[in-house]
């Protein structure tokens, strides 16, 4: 029941926050922050009731007790559709990330002058609810439902509270996600029909569908349906073009959630559904997927360098970083998969922070154009130092989470394909190029003395400190995350090959 409550608190909380609008603008945001933090504490408290040894247990499909938490109830029995939720280490980490970044997103828009504050915060909470639903749903129909639930409030956030080009950006975001989501729906339904054909029973349950025997051709097409939906969200090259527009136009909180959490649903989908449901087809497809990953890493980095819009630069850096996730997933060994999950978490923090800085800059300077910035370190040393930290994280500074992730992905990938690794390692160089030019254009150089700018305050610095500590922790003490995720990787229907058994191509 905890899992359902987790979502319900956010859904109902959203309504409450909307209603609270009538008492003044500060009520909704304080209430929203309280709800998200309350939800987080509720989850943490719930975790203390789970026996510690369960965290090391491999979650099995047939045995709900082997999962950390599981809950299900009938919904549409005729088609075997259930309210089925379950949580293992992977979903736990992502749900925690969602709630922490959700709180940070609310903080990031604290001082922004958003009209209809209540409805704004409500949409944030509903997006979070949708994302958590995506991470917990174990019925494919229910999963699709949440996939849509998180899309609509996000669309509203961009369309209503976005910047100058919001209608184009929000529409693009909606069409890309919606169209690819429909492909997934078709694939889900077809999969259920195939399953019905072999067993005579309708079911949308993840556990039932896992072992559906598929003809090679069918498997390939169905796999593609899932893959496209997830890779659009990720986003992977060449279906990434919605992202720079959506990020740039979204309000700060929207960008933080979009980059920090929403993109991870794509990676999660690949890990949870595409690989385990279609292992054979995915293996056939892996070289192409990895190629797309490498292309994303390099293409994103080159385009990030070309931007003069601060937010657009960070958006393209996301394309580059998520390329590593795609690489890690399809390199398909424990090291690379662990790296991919680590990258999901670390990128969540580093990019959320950079978008928060971008939002703070826009709010103070009324521009995102870096050519009109420069010398901001003198005027806002705290913001400058924080930006420097996250720029370094993003360029893969060892000792911070992003490096742990990228290194593991590349080590794992090397055993599979050294040439691909060499190409992806170019991303290490290009990441330095765009991260440092960002620092140069915005924070270094001679300051414009006429500006009178407010540096980050206590609340913002607290949010930043949370993310800084998180990244340092992931960089120096990443083991807890590995330990949580390892049983999940072990459980997946895919044969996770230990690296020692792999042969290196000479």
């Amino acid at each position: 029941m905890l899992l359902v409550n987790l979502i319900l608190i956010l859904l109902l909380g959203g309504a409450l926050v909307w209603w609270a609008e009538r008492f003044g603008d500060h009520w909704p945001r304080q209430l929203a922050l309280a709800i998200v933090i309350g939800d987080l504490l509720y989850l943490l408290r719930g975790l203390t009731f789970i026996a510690p040894e369960k965290f090391a247990l491999v979650p099995e499909a047939i045995n709900p007790d082997s999962w950390l938490l599981a809950w299900s109830a009938e919904w549409i029995p005729r088609f075997g559709i259930e309210f089925s939720f379950a949580m293992d280490g992977l979903s736990l980490i992502l749900v925690l990330l969602t709630l922490v970044l959700g709180a940070i997103a609310i903080v990031s828009s604290w001082d922004e002058d958003n009209p209809r504050q209540g409805f704004f915060q409500a949409n944030i909470l509903w997006t979070l609810a949708g994302v958590i639903g995506v991470f917990l749903a174990m019925d494919l129909f229910l999963f699709f439902l949440f996939w849509e639930v998180m899309l609509v409030p996000m669309y509203l956030l961009i369309a209503i509270w976005g910047h100058e080009g919001k209608s184009y950006a929000s529409m693009k975001f909606f069409i890309f996600t919606q169209f690819s989501g429909l492909l997934m729906l078709v694939a889900i339904v077809l999969l259920a029909i195939v399953h019905h054909g072999t067993t005579g029973e309708y079911s949308f349950s993840y556990f039932d569908l896992l072992d559906t025997p598929l003809e090679q051709n069918t498997a390939h097409w169905l796999m593609l349906g899932f893959f496209i939906a997830f890779v659009v969200k990720l986003p992977g090259f060449p279906v990434h073009t919605w992202l720079p527009d959506a990020h740039t136009q979204a309000p700060t909180a929207g960008s933080v959630i979009l980059a920090g959490i929403l993109l991870k649903t794509g990676a999660y989908g690949l890990l949870r559904f595409t690989l385990p449901l279609f292992p054979g087809a995915s293996l056939d497809f892996a070289p192409i997927a990895m190629l797309l990953g490498v292309a994303g890493v390099i293409y994103g980095a080159i385009l990030a360098f070309a931007q003069s819009d601060f937010k657009r630069l960070v958006a393209y850096s996301s394309v580059s970083h998520m390329g590593f996730v795609l690489l890690g997933i399809y390199a398909w060994n424990t090291l690379a998969l662990q790296g991919a999950v680590m990258q999901m978490v670390a990128h969540g923090f580093s990019t959320a922070a950079l978008f928060m800085i971008a939002g703070a800059l826009q709010q103070r300077l009324h521009t995102r154009d870096m050519d009109q910035m420069g010398g901001l370190w003198r005027q806002m040393p705290r913001m400058g130092a924080v930006a420097l930290f996250f720029a370094l994280a993003s360029l893969g500074m060892p000792g911070l989470g992003n490096f742990t992730a990228e290194f593991l992905v590349l080590v794992g990938l090397f055993a599979v394909d050294p040439w691909m690794t060499a190409a992806a390692a170019l991303g290490l160089i290009t990441a330095a190029i765009y991260s440092l030019i960002m620092m140069q254009k915005a924070f270094y150089g001679a300051p414009d003395e006429g500006r009178n700018l407010q540096d980050f305050g206590k609340l913002e610095m607290t949010a930043m400190a949370v993310m800084i500590i998180a990244l340092i922790h992931l960089g120096l003490f990443p083991q807890p995350v590995f330990d949580l995720v390892q049983p999940v990787l072990d459980s997946m229907a895919v044969e996770v090959a230990p690296i020692s058994q792999l042969q290196v191509a000479p």
């Binding site: 990434h240 073009t241 070309a306 120096l476």
Partner: protein, 615 residues
């Protein structure tokens, strides 16, 4: 004391974090105390640990925590302590402390005093981790850490965009090497199953025969990292520009410690390089060519710091030459003596710049011998050691390198004397450009008046480094158990004599050309081809221009060409197609009864025809 070696990097690290968190709110005295004191404390711990270690020199590993443990990949956060570590740590904390002390005076009027020490302390911590790491991943952490601190300190005065450009160049160029090194790490782990240095070297020895392709590849990739960090050909172009940072930074990072990290890396993994004799020869050749190119360039610079920068590149070339010919101890020995005399030279140059209103051009100096006596003697001793004049520290280390080079016979028979001759030419050039500097800056007519004298915090470190630059050559480094034993030298007295005499000859040339001005060289140097050649050398053999046209400009061009997102054009064409369809269909919606009736009739006819045709 040995169990407390984790304190050594911790002191400067904590100090750095404190300085960052307080963000300039700390009083200056406190900043200075913390900044220099933390490194001093580390130096004391190194001293204590060293004394204890040398009583029973047994290498050991100190594991702090398990860093990660994923499927056989389990690097630990662990330090490895042997004689090589001890030498490196002594140089870093010893010279580092002197430079920090000097900085407290040099930077005293800077408004970002505390930010400066925060970065400097962080650098020392990272450099210590680099040399103490027991595995290559932790070494890489230190490696990147020093790179970042170097970037921050080169661009310390960030308001000038030129400094920003120099700092980015320094970081990105070394990152190219780092990417190669990372690939080397992947290869080593995939093939050998561990990154812990000692077991890894053993595994390499068992897995690979001498000359194995994979061993060579791994060594080559590590060499890529080393040439980047140590500013050797072809990745040396960042170091002269890195002089944009404050001068003590140049002394610490770009002369004494960080730039020698590549030398340390190769020495530390020498077991791997021994399996790849061809790569080892390449190391020697890279060193030789770099030392010659840089020496010619140093001869033609006007900026006192750029002369020293090229000289650093050249001297590290000697270290690479030493490593390449298997004279491991000599390489590390030269690393140490170079740290003494080059830090001395940079600090002395810094004192001149400090006292001369930030003047960098040596032709605007002159006659400073009487006006800045402490600086003059420091510079004199430093230059003598750099030129490897007898009985200075530089003499002993360079002599060893040259003699070892002479004796090299493998993998190409008879190559030794050629390497020796090249090194000797470099030594001649070194002597000339060092004393060109001395004669132009300190003798002749005065050009600019100093407006202050260095205080004790600057003069003290200078004096100590003077002493080290002289007596450093008599230190016996306890490296015999770390490296394979080297035979004594069996070269003839003639070779030895020439090796000693050539630097003296260089000083004589410099004296004749730049002091007496009696050598008729202007006929050559002022001729058309002479001017062209000197310009070419002055521009550092045009490497920057080459890389700009080969790499930088194409990258910028590609990125601005892609900026319009051609991928999006595909989606936009879909959108345009839909819009055209929409427009076409909506035109049929005219609202006219007659039009609708006609189209219904035609539609019905079409339908009926279709049905009739189907059935």
């Amino acid at each position: 004391m040995l169990q407390a070696i984790w304190l050594i990097p911790l002191f400067p690290f904590v100090s750095s974090v404190l300085l960052m968190v307080t963000a300039g709110r700390m009083p200056r005295t406190m900043v200075a105390l913390l900044g220099a004191g933390s490194v001093g404390l580390s130096a004391l711990v190194v001293l204590g640990a060293g004394l204890e270690f040398m009583r029973a020199p047994e290498p050991f590993t100190l594991t702090l925590w398990h860093w990660m443990q994923v499927d056989g990949f389990n690097p630990e956060f662990a330090f490895y302590f042997d004689q090589l570590t001890l030498v490196m740590m002594s140089v870093i904390t010893g010279v580092g402390f002197l430079i920090h002390l000097y900085s407290t005076e040099f930077m005293q009027d800077d408004r970002d005093y505390s930010r400066y020490f925060a970065y400097m302390n962080m650098f020392v911590a990272a450099m210590l981790i680099l040399v103490m790491a027991d595995n290559l991943l932790l070494l890489f952490l230190g490696w990147e850490g020093v790179g970042v601190c170097s970037y921050l300190l080169v661009g310390f005065w960030y308001e000038d965009p030129a400094n920003g450009a120099a700092s980015r160049k320094a970081f990105v160029v070394t990152r190219v090497g780092d990417a190669a090194m990372a690939l080397g790490l992947f290869l080593l782990f995939t093939e050998l199953g561990t990154l812990t240095i000692q077991p890894m070297l053993e595994a390499a020895n068992q897995t690979w025969a001498s000359g194995d392709t994979l061993a060579a590849l791994a060594a080559l990739l590590l060499l890529g990292g080393a040439v980047g960090k140590s500013a050797q050909l072809p990745l040396h172009t960042w170091l002269p520009d890195a002089m944009a940072g404050p001068t003590p930074v140049s002394a610490l990072i770009h002369a004494a410690t960080m730039v020698t990290a590549g030398v340390y890396l190769i020495a530390r993994t020498h077991g791997l390089f021994l399996l790849a004799p061809d790569v080892l020869l390449l190391v020697a050749l890279v060193g030789l060519i770099t030392l010659l190119l840089a020496a010619f360039t140093a001869l033609n610079q006007h900026d006192i710091k750029r002369i020293l920068a090229y000289s650093t590149i050249s001297q590290i070339g000697y270290m690479f030459l030493a490593l390449g010919v298997g004279a491991w101890s000599a390489g590390i020995f030269h690393l140490m003596t170079h740290a003494f005399f080059k830090a001395l030279l940079f600090l002395a140059a810094g004192a001149i710049i400090h006292c001369l209103h930030h003047e960098h051009d040596i032709f605007k100096m002159g006659g400073l011998r009487k006006k800045l006596p402490v600086v003059f003697w420091s510079f004199m001793i430093g230059a003598a050691a750099l030129a490897a004049l007898p009985f200075t520290a530089g003499f002993f280390s360079k002599d060893q390198i040259l003699l070892s080079a002479f004796e090299l016979h493998a993998p190409i028979a008879g190559i030794g004397p050629w390497l020796w001759a090249g090194g000797l030419l470099g030594a001649l050039l070194t002597a000339i450009y060092s004393f060109r500097l001395v004669f132009i800056v300190f003798f002749g007519a005065a050009q600019t008046e100093p407006d202050k004298q260095p205080g004790w915090r600057m003069a003290g470190p200078l004096s100590l480094l003077c002493v080290l630059s002289i007596i450093g050559g008599w230190f016996v480094l306890p490296l015999s158990s770390v490296f394979p034993a080297a035979d004594g030298h069996h070269v003839s007295g003639l070779v030895e004599g020439i090796s000693i005499g050539v630097p003296l000859l260089g000083v004589a040339f410099a004296w004749l050309i730049y002091y007496r001005r009696s050598l008729p060289v202007t006929g050559i140097t002022e001729s058309d081809s002479g001017v062209a050649l000197r310009g070419y050398w002055y521009r550092g053999w045009d490497f920057d221009r080459l890389y700009d046209s080969l790499l930088v400009n194409p990258f910028v061009a590609v990125s601005s060409a892609l900026k319009s997102e051609w991928v999006d054009a595909i989606y936009h064409s879909v959108v345009r197609f839909c819009q055209a369809l929409h427009r076409g269909l909506s035109q049929s919606q005219t609202g006219k009864m007659r039009w609708y009736a006609t189209s219904m009739v035609f539609g019905l006819i079409a339908l009926i025809t279709l049905l009739g045709w189907v059935y």
